[in-house]
Every structure is written in C-alpha cells, then in structure tokens.
Amino acid sequence: MQQLDLAIIGGGGAGLTAALYAARARRSIIVFEGNVTGGQIATTDKVENYPGFPEGVNGFDLAQLFLQQAEKFGAEVAYERVESLKRLEDGAFEVTSTERTVRARAVIVTAGADYNKLGVAGETELTGRGVSYCGTCDAAFFAGQKVIVVGGGDAAMDEGMFITRYAESVEVVHRRDELRASAILQERAFANPKMSFTWDTVVEAIEGDGKVERAVLRNLKTGETTIRAVDGVFIFIGQVPNNHILKGLVELDAGGHALVDLQMRTSVPGLFVAGDLRTQAARQLISAAGDGATAAIAAEHYLTELDAGA
C-alpha cells in the first residue's frame, strides 16, 4: 500500500492550493479528483472576483494555472473517485478510491459541493439532451433557441447572461418575487434585452421525445399551470455538500457541512476539511484557496508534531 504524509480529497480551488503548500513543504502527497480539476470554477466562464486578474479570467484556465503551480512543486493528481475514508487504530487514515487504497498520516478533504437537482419528471432522462447544469459548457448548442433558466442566485444570472450569447431568449423562472443574486449581476441581468423574468413560479416537469421540447410551469401564488415550448432548461438552484465520506467520522452542521475550527481542523486529529465543504464557507474561489492554505499549514504542524514524537 502506498504510504503518504498527506492525502487531499478534491482537486478544486481549496485542494489544489493545499497541494501547492504541502508540496512546497516537501511532504509526500496525493490529490484525488473524480472529475475535472478546478471543481466548480472549471466551468465558470469568467472569474471577475479573484484578485490579480483585473480583466477577469476564464475559470477553466485559472484552474489549470492552479494545477500547474501545484504540479511544479511535485504534487500529483490521481483522477479517481474516492469511495471511503477510514481512520485506523494508529491514528493514520486509509483512503480508498476506485483504483487504489493509500495510507496517509493526515487528510484534507476538499470535496466541495455538487449542483442541486430539481427532482422533477424528465430531468434525469433529458440531462445532456436539453437539461443542463452548466451554461458555459452547453450554451453553444442552443443558438437561436428558447431556454429557461431556473434559479435566482449569482450562478443563475451569470450563466443566464452567458447563454444569451447564443440563445434567442432566456426566461428566468424563479420561485420567489425577487432575486438573491448580487446587485451588480441583477443590474446586468435586468438590462439584458434577451432576458425575461417569471416570478413566483416553479418548473414542475420537463418533457420531450429524446430532447427537451416543453416545460410545465406552475405559479405558486395562483396555482396556475402553463406549458412552455422550450429547447433547453438550465438549472442553477444551489448546491449539496459532497459529504458522504465524512459521515460517521466528523460532526456536520444542519446543512451537511463539516464543523471545523479556524485552522480547518475537525474533531478528528489529522483530519481537516477546507473549502465549500466546511461549515460557514463563503463559497468563493478566493476563500476556498485561503482555506486550502490554512488547512495545509495546520496539517504541516500536525505532521511536524508526529515526526517529533516518533
């Protein structure tokens, strides 16, 4: 079995920053990533709130820069999904992925969050066939077509505006009568001539033969149901924390995020959680990266103490 100082589970902003710090501390590490490096940022068209890029930067490109910088100092990313995390009797950890099991003296979990699903009829069957959770990935397939965007937060506005580059119209369907998105994004969205807003309304079903053709909308105030002919339904309704490997191991808050202290330490010695998966995260790339650095420094202290005691 591979023996390591540190295993990092998740290769997003938090994980890649932790990897950079731990690699520079000359620790033996591995980063597990079951999807695209960069996590949520990898599918963000333009990042405008990460300092150092006054013109903004493409999220995927920025994630690749994070990766290159970590790799430059010797970090290695294994593109494998982690299935379990176990604490051993001697205090070390066993991390099992789809491909291997490694033993690590400390672990930083930066598994982040996944997008929420609507949970309505047709959603799963039509995913990739008109139902999408990523405007920047899929908008180009909707040139000149009609699209619904579900949600009222930053992601919904950002992605909705991106989709208007291609689509003929973007109808934002939101269950409340006001947006949650930041003021600047709201201003831009309201000013966009291709965007319209349907308030107090939910999508109840998505229909079509092999591809999205219709959406069933229901007004929550009047109860009235409308059938809308659309080609795409893009869903941006928040996230769920990827906490399955932490369950039973560390304490979680009501939203399923791990409880940590200001050094990203969980109640389990040697186990750290950083980024969107930790409690009260700001859910920004910059704070995730900051968390990753904090966790790596705390893990380094932990390992140094172990080294001294051994």
Partner: protein, 109 residues
C-alpha cells in the same frame, strides 16, 4: 503512436458507420474546457486499444449535422459505435478508468 483523427459531417458515414472496427468519437469544441482534459485521455486510450477500437474526434462548431442528428447538447460527449450502431454514450468528463469500463461494456454486449 496513432493520432486521434478528425471526423467531419462529410466523412461520418465512411469513417464511423462503415468502419470494420468499433469507433469511439470524442465530440468537442475549442471553447470547452473539460474537453481539453478529455483529449489526452482519448489519446492514451487510442494507444491502449490500438487494433481493437478506432478513436476519432469531431469538432461540433465546424460540424453541426452529426451532433444534431444524435441529439448532442452537451460536450464533452463520447459516442461508441460498432458496425454502424450506437452502442454507448458518455456525457461529461469521466476519469480514464470509468471510460475503459464503459468501452468494454459497450463492446461486449
């Protein structure tokens, strides 16, 4: 080292549907970030499956007909054909081990 060859709307029938070997086609576009992570994996697979499976790529910006015919509205998408029939579809980035599993499944059924 076999390069992953381009297939187009015009060459689709000859290159894919009439191929003697099973064909995996990587649907991609230059603006698609995750597609840039799929490409090197497809390249590696093309070496591992040399002589058993042909690997090709299709630029969806330049070739709208084939993607539209197969209802592709998300990339990266990988389609696996054998003897002119669609045997499997993978939508989105997946690690290499997942892809190998999907290829093997698609071709043993």
């Amino acid at each position: 080292m076999a390069d992953v060859l381009e297939v187009t709307d015009a060459t689709w029938d000859a290159d894919v549907l009439k191929s003697d070997l099973p064909v995996l086609i990587d649907f991609w576009a230059p603006w698609c970030g995750p597609c840039r992570m799929v490409a090197p994996i497809v390249q590696e697979l093309s070496e591992e499956y040399a002589g058993k499976v042909t690997f090709m790529k299709l630029n969806t910006d330049e070739n709208p007909m084939v993607p539209s015919k197969f209802g592709i509205r998300s990339i990266p998408s990988l389609l696996i054909f054998d003897k002119g029939e669609l045997k499997g579809t993978v939508v989105g980035f997946r690690p290499k081990s997942d892809l190998k599993k999907r290829i093997d499944e698609a071709l043993t059924v």
